[in-house]
Amino acid sequence: LYQRTHYLLPHDDQLDGRAVAFMYYLTSLNQDEGGALCLYDSKDNTPTRIQQKIQPQKNTFVFFRVSAKSFHEIKEVLRGNRLTLTGWFYYA
């Protein structure tokens, strides 16, 4: 649960055999409420710029492959609540 002022700064999620990261949104937030998942472009395994912003949309499942370039962040929630189920699928 992310509430007003909560955020997650850029990182790549790489840890112990994680293959895919997922988020299942239980609430919706519009653009001026913040809370977007931002996916970064990268060069030489360094994030360069935000390539895609995904606003939380209730009953939406988002996932991406975890790799040395899977840089992403959660923008600060400015209003409302951002409630998600989050986790990772691991390599067998």
Binding site: R4, T5, Y7, L9, P10, H11, G34, Y40, T46, P47, F71, E73, E76, L78
Partner: protein, 183 residues
């Protein structure tokens, strides 16, 4: 002019030094006299701050401070407290943090200093984020106070510094502080 409390009484200085030696951090509140501090505030705000960002490490604006910002009296006090002969501070940087700014700890970060000095220029409320923290990996941390005109001396000893993300409660406010390292 330095606050008289810090320079007229040797007993005070001795006690401050003792705090630094035992707790590895000490903050000197109302460090400069009001008039001098306000002049420094004005001078710092006029500096040409330049914004820089690397998503994995930092987002802030910074400016280089001209040599000679602090009087000889201040240098003398710092020398006494740190056991280092400080003739001049040649590498001091002004940092400005606004909404969305931060620094992050990362694997390549190396705190090269023995002692760091932070001098707060702006008044700040820590509910807006922006706290300056030093961590040592054991779970212990040092938090630098955010009062304007407070000078904090930190014995870094392998601690790493980061600045918490500035959140939306800051609105248009900016946290400005000066930082220098003593090797």
């Amino acid at each position: 002019m330095l606050n008289r409390y810090y320079c007229e009484n040797h007993k005070n200085l001795k006690e401050i030094k003792q705090v630094l030696d035992t707790q590895e951090v000490v903050s000197l509140f109302d460090f400069l006299e009001k008039k001098e501090f306000e002049q420094i505030q004005k001078n710092i705000q006029k500096l040409p701050f330049k914004y820089e960002k690397n998503p994995l490490t930092h987002s802030y604006s910074k400016a280089v401070i001209p040599i000679g910002l602090f009087s000889n009296e201040v240098l003398r006090i710092l020398s006494v407290l740190t056991n280092k002969e400080i003739i001049n501070i040649t590498a001091m940087t002004a940092y400005k943090f606004k909404h969305h700014d931060y620094t992050l700890l990362h694997d390549t970060l190396q705190q090269k200093s023995d002692i760091e000095i932070i001098f707060n220029i702006s008044k700040w409320d820590s509910k807006c984020g922006g706290s300056v923290l030093y961590i040592d990996g054991s779970g212990d941390f040092i938090q630098v106070p955010c009062n304007a005109n407070a000078l904090t001396i930190i014995r870094t000893k392998g601690r790493k510094q980061f600045v918490k993300y500035i959140n939306c409660k800051a609105k248009k406010s900016e946290r400005i502080f000066l930082q220098t390292i003593l090797l």
